[in-house]
Symmetry: D2
Subunit: 145 residues, 4 copies
């Protein structure tokens, strides 16, 4: 039964239903496989900070949604939560859309560590906007820890 | 001229006008002095994640707004931007409001390093929801770096 | 049987026997309880970097030894390993000794998150040399993850 | 005058003379260019932790030396210091040698942000031992900040 598989379609529907932060900022999941996941920020009205660049929490949300999609694709179940996320803001971003890509550095049974890169679709990944390292932990571990 | 001073009133007005992410999530700035700043998450509709706890990007936004308020109060000018923010998610948060407090570990001329703690108003700071370390840099440094 | 208890004496003997990095840099464990642990850098010949200040890896080792001592005191068994350690270098340190103190932000069953502060004994904790956040994980989790 | 150039030979001599931590652990700089730098841990007696794996501070030192070499090669002067270093320990390492490679995520005038990966020479970079993100700042910025 296809509903059992956490593929791109199911992950998009799940996030659309239960993680409204993604829609609030205009974050689309455009790829989600066991090797990497990608989001695209098309943007909405409230995503800017003073000075006009994209606000830090919006870039953080891109990394969080990308690593969530990757976790679902890797694990094929919805059992892990963000344990830590460290983001470096490298350059201000003005022009949309932005692309965010997450890859696994280590996908263990209870801890998953990811690298995330964010860049402008127009300028490409050689000119990074932000980089993050994220750790996800099984919710059973997180709650009892 | 009181408008020249970055006090709580002016910081609240500035964030209300130019950092809409705060209102989107229901984040109020309740204190902003040169020693510490405090925000309070009263919450809005889209702040939850699957499972019902407060989503990571909302906690990140609390830390970002608290450190922004502290930066304005410390610097008395709007010249710095977030350079990095590393957050540890310690426990899921369900009940509102949440409190977030930022204090300076080191406030230099061009780099400012902050510690942020987030807890539930009902349970208090002995039972932390999240902790973050943030670095802000003068925008002139950030843009030329 | 007192040997069963991970008290300061046993922890010091264990580190002296099996973690030679501590002696290489001149790091003494001076307190280890379930609430906090403290190390003191008295120093050895090879701890400096170009310019004469204490090298980053030495400060990192102070944080690692302090959180190890705290983990042993908290857990009362030697089952956890460092999962991540993020250090902010706030000021150069020249004068010894240095003090490093670790406290738990969250001590769960499988994940432990710590805050570490390092200061000069002469100048005190209001003038921090470095701050770190560390996560330790049960080795069974770490190895299977 | 070739002495003016921070090439591999000069960087190795500089580290050998003024950063003794590298020799204490057996860390060789094997490449240092403006695009990336690489170190190799051949190891010495005191590099192990209880259980026999390589101790965290030794991996941290690899990242610190690799980013230092890259900073010298990029900047062509010795003016920057470590501002932060966040390391994720992904797997225990037993077999030597280990390789550590640093690349720049953003090399600005006053802040430099690096990604570092550490792996076993025998197993290769697809099976990471550790990953780190490091920020270096001009010493003039760091001291006045």
């Amino acid at each position: 039964m296809s509903e059992q598989v956490w593929d791109l379609e199911r992950i998009r529907a799940h996030v659309a239903a239960d993680l409204p932060v993604a829609a609030v900022f205009g974050i689309d999941i455009v790829a989600a496989q066991a090797t990497s996941a990608r989001v695209r920020l098309v943007g909405t009205a409230p995503i800017r900070r003073p000075g006009g660049s994209i606000a830090g929490p919006v870039l953080f949300a891109m990394a969080d949604v990308a690593t969530y999609a990757l976790t679902l694709a890797l694990r094929q179940e919805d059992v892990a939560v963000t344990s830590s996320l460290a983001m470096n803001f490298l350059r201000p971003a003005f022009a949309l859309p932005l692309i965010g890509e997450a890859v696994a550095l280590r996908a263990g049974r209870t801890l998953l560590t990811y690298d995330v890169r964010i860049w402008s679709e127009a300028e490409g990944p050689d000119r990074l906007i932000a980089q993050a390292t994220a750790t996800w932990a099984n919710a059973s571990v997180a709650s009892r820890s």
